[in-house]
Symmetry: D3
Subunit: 187 residues, 6 copies
């Protein structure tokens, strides 16, 4: 997997969840995970989660660390599993860096009852994609929320955190593929 | 998924990793997770992990909590992801029950440098299967190891732990399948 | 599978054959079969069957019982098989209720040379879908046609028929999945 | 699909459910349906249906019409659907020839409460296979049973029936594949 | 596979790479390869290859022999392999007809350093497709190029060449499917 | 893909076509292509090609260059395409090195009417595999045959040829996977 930690400010508005986004914008061809930081504002019409749309629950956060993942196969169930592994990695690393313990419920992370993250996985015509957004700050977030800043991560540690998550995810995918190649079949 | 916590002593010798084991022994038809407790002794010839066999590393533990999972599809990469989610669930629940923090490296769990678990995923002619064994005690384990007893889980809490892991895994699989059914495609 | 017999009048115009239609309109998440009743009017541009479009054969029926099925995988050949099983179930139940014998030719049902049904199966970006429409009355249908009313089903029996078809189909899918989980492989 | 109606007497003992059986014995390469006639005697150890084996329910019939189908893909759920379409075709043709009405319950056919058929679908290392056996006579069958002879089919009509079933199945598979190739995607 | 050598002049502008093109225009249902001749002019916005679009490299050729292939499955990796086999077949036949030796680099054909071809493979909502264009003449082609005319093929031999390529490709696909149906599994 | 040119003499007897052979013998984990040289002697019972077995056509060659390929997926049709690309690569490189022109018919290579190669592709319980054997000398080969030695390749050039084929194949697979990751979908 290609990894890019893009240290420029960008808003996430849902348009980044489109096939070949990493190729179009960062010249990354093949499976990739790209990280950037900025506000998150997904209007109702741009929501991919139809449940959220039915609930009239647009997404907003003033400042998030965003991960955009693309895998070039068409098995969404598999990419939902990958998404949850990504959230498990984020959970473990936040826990380690902030010396706290988060809870993971499916693809959501919580600190107590406060939500740290939003995430979705879906299909494009040629691939599957994941978006995961981790609050840095939380002013105006429409649900009880917590952010990395409040958990004690300063500017520098956010980027090193982003780097470690990306590498951890790429290693998870690589080692899973390798694990498939060392076992014999059983009866 | 069918769940069975089988509170009888059984040795795990590798023969349990065979298609329809849960149907043959417990009348469970369909995807399942079965838990039991007992020693773990897998001789070289019974190893599914060919790397371990090449390393002449048979598996032994005097007392383990065993999870046997079967999924009726033939995508081993997908079941490796499921295996890692199972290990992440075990990690989180041990951490919560024992108030400690474990590390997950792929499909292995560690407390410091001591190994808590063994695990493998493979293909049968009709399904994919996972074995995960969690040390309860560790006398005679051939690598630096730690067990649930040492981490403070008594007899009763081991079974309730087993129950929570099984339910957590079944819920992870169920909610992943549901997550696949609420998103529109993107361009 | 989720089942809904929606006893309100709705026109089928082809727009119902769109991903997550059951979720958007009836809050049904996951594989589903939804039944409703109303006219059927699919203009040339809305036809999914390109052969029909090339033949300039728009679809019309004044009153049909409609079944909309969604399965969240991307194997259209498999869903064509499911579609034909649905038509076989409808054939058997009409035969039983009306004490007649229909013929099934692929996904079409006939009483003598008169057509009882229209049906199509296709892909969405995230799922496969089936539409089956069964004539209730046939005034203005552009081909020789027969309807459930003419075959002796009154208002009440049409809804109980709809219920039985839906349950029969859901059971067919459920038991097929189970059948896959009780057999050993052969050499 | 290749079709062969093999008008020689052969016993079905389960060994015919093995990959490339039609190639090895009849030089048929590729998807095929082969029909022959003879007793059916499957001992416990040869049973593919593990539920039947657990129930100690060996299979016996003195005289059956057998269909052996092989499809060279590895999707057993799909072949279970094909199996049920085969049973639906048999149901319809028996009904037509004998002027009676059978019931299909999954992959079983009944006349009243008497069973007409046995059937199984499973995986080989390179393909999926179906066996369907239709009783001709029923002396010694261990469950309430009915046979084609009792339903009025004489020797000649049994072979023409076999031919029509085979052609009907091959046409079902062919037309399903074609149905997949005439539809546009929907949103 | 259906084969059509369409001996009328048509421009390739990218719009031919759309699902069911052969069905819509030539009434060919199912996997197909259609050949025609004409200029090739694909503007930036119509490019399927996003790398070319990023490089601002529109495609132009004054006169090409075009092959449009459609396969009704959704595995793009598999269709990339098919595409390369098509290019290997073209390479061999040009070599034979013109008594020269071409080089194949992935999906590109070269005579020395001059490019003979353009090609792309992609997904539609219901199928995978290939376009391969072989220069006949090369005036105005934006890269060093060679054409079939320059290599000595006259008008007649171009159409017989088109016919041989189409038949060779159809035979490659047919015999590959058959090759899959004659082997036993190995341990 | 892992590449190994193993310059020791080994006989090919069919037993090399077994899952994880490269891992067990050369510690190569993951998709791989291994080359070695030695006689080829596959007895009837060891034949994977059931057509050859039916024809009582065991395989023999006194001296061959062998390629053993393993891909960790279960799509045999796809691996047949890969096999044919491997043969196309071998054809092109022999042609270049020996300044001759071979013919490829499916997975067979010919010089005139003399056969240069044997090849097969099949499934293991966890992967797909290819064997390709290229005659070096041909004394005792049971069909009209030609070998690399006769075509002018000396000892040294055979190993460099083996290296170029292996790298060419690995590059073909790598670039095919990349080609899948640069295209947008079409309507």
């Amino acid at each position: 997997m290609k990894i890019l930690v893009h240290k420029h400010q960008m808003e996430y508005d849902g348009s980044q969840l489109a096939s070949l986004w990493a190729l179009r914008h960062f010249n990354l061809q093949g499976d990739s995970i790209v990280t950037f930081r900025g506000p998150c504002r997904v209007e109702l019409d741009a929501l991919v989660d139809i449940r959220d749309r039915l609930d009239h629950a647009p997404i907003y956060s003033p400042d998030m660390l965003h991960f955009i993942v693309e895998h070039f196969d068409l098995d969404l169930e598999k990419t939902v599993y990958r998404q949850r592994l990504l959230m498990a990695i984020i959970k473990d690393l936040v826990g380690e860096v902030a010396a706290i313990s988060l809870r993971r419920l499916g693809d959501d992370l919580y600190f107590g009852n406060r939500k740290l993250s939003v995430s979705i996985a879906t299909l494009t015509p040629v691939s599957t994609m994941i978006h995961a957004g981790i609050n840095v700050t939380t002013a105006g977030v429409p649900v009880p929320a917590v952010g990395l800043a409040e958990l004690g991560l300063d500017e520098d540690s956010i980027w090193s955190f982003a780097q470690r998550v990306s590498c951890g995810y790429a290693e998870e995918i690589r080692s899973s593929a390798q694990a498939r190649c060392k076992v014999r079949g059983v009866p």
